[in-house]
């Protein structure tokens, strides 16, 4: 049984107040130390994660640009290209989502009478839409007869083909 009286509490109080110790200081110091160790460990991990993420975002932007080039090659046709003016304003092929928070914006410009440049810019966005990484690639394409040359020219059948040599371009 625990019993107390006002008198006994009065007697013990000065004794408790008079005690000195370092328990609180030591505990705070220990906690701070442990916190710093854990934080430094997390910091190293975070650095690694961010570094890896940047490479991932860069790769996603690059692959999106590649996808944009392939998509443009598949969708443009000779009739569309023949209407473009030489040296004129590029034709905007629009922006397409190629994955979660990854888009590609493609354009095609006419350089000469038969040579064209497709430009695809892949972008990796964050949740708010801000760009985290971008990569732009280009493809030089030209109008070619789509069948055997004499027959194709006679029937006016033209197709779109990438340059056989050095058609792929890294743009900056």
């Amino acid at each position: 049984m625990i019993s107390s009286s006002p008198g006994s509490r009065h007697r013990r109080l000065p004794h408790v107040q008079g005690e000195s110790g370092v328990a609180l200081v030591a505990a705070v110091f220990a906690l701070t130390l442990i916190g710093a160790l854990v934080a430094s460990s997390f910091f190293a991990g975070r650095l690694e994660q961010q570094s890896g993420q940047n490479v991932l975002f860069s790769g996603q932007a690059r692959e999106a640009a590649e996808a944009g080039l392939a998509e443009a090659m598949a969708t443009v046709n000779a009739a569309l290209l023949e209407d473009l003016p030489v040296g004129g304003v590029p034709l905007d092929l629009g922006t397409v989502a190629v994955g979660e928070e990854v888009t590609v914006h493609s354009k095609i410009a006419r350089l000469t009478s038969r040579l064209f440049l497709i430009r695809a810019q892949g972008t990796r966005h964050d949740a708010s839409g801000a760009a985290l990484a971008t990569r732009t690639l280009g493809m030089l394409v030209q109008l070619v007869a789509s069948g055997a040359p004499p027959q194709a020219e006679a029937e006016d059948q033209m197709g779109v083909s990438r340059l056989a040599e050095r058609g792929w371009v890294g743009l900056y």
Partner: protein, 279 residues
Amino acid sequence: MLAHRRGFTLAEIMLGLVVTLVVTGSIYNLLLATQRVTRAQAQRVMLQSSLRAGSLIVLNELAELSTATGGTPDQNDVLTMGSSAITYRAMRGMGIICHLPGATVIRLARSTFTGHRDPQAGRDRAFVFVPGNAETADSWVPRDIVTVATAAPCPGGQGPGITLTLSSSPSLEALEVGTPVRITELMEFRLYRADGRSWLGARSVSAGELIQPLLGPLTDVSGFELEYLDATGSPTADRSDVKSIQVRLRGMVESAGDNAAPPEEELVTRVALRNSPAT
């Protein structure tokens, strides 16, 4: 008054001191160990990060190379290939001709020029696109860049230009405004030793540069390994047959401490040469 105050006996003080020493020693050892682990972690993170960055640089440099099976030397950008070294023709930029002031002078529109830097006379070469006709195929004709000037603008309000004076041979015919021009530079990647360690180095061969460290330290002998693959993915020794290159980077931390062997990390990337059609 003093006679009534309680104190500690000598034995209690000694015991307290011993316990304090043991606890303090343990904490100190723990701190040292944690510091060692943290430092090792940070070094490993840096190593992985630099390997990834180095891999990206190599990938970006090699991805644009052109090879053509049985093609001419000008069509093949892989000049020498070894297991830990490669010399290649690197793409440094591309521009579109906006004006043709003379037989050997071309002007590129600054607004269309894309690259790491402007062309440099003596260091770079220009590959000018020449469209084919019924008898000849399309080609990229190489020419030395004799001078580079940036004072004259492009006509028709196209803005600033980059004027290149090219060597007169081989001759170019029927160039037209809008023709693309690629700027190239001879480069070398190789594993080399400096300060007792191995590094991945890069240098401009055409500029006559000395090798500069790009990444490291790497492990000796096997730090930078290249494997050249043909269209079927099999190793090939024919430069014109190369369709992809497998790059293996093996790095190690700067100092492991103690006598332990330094931790190593390995990164393997396969670069498909985007200007090497499979057929």
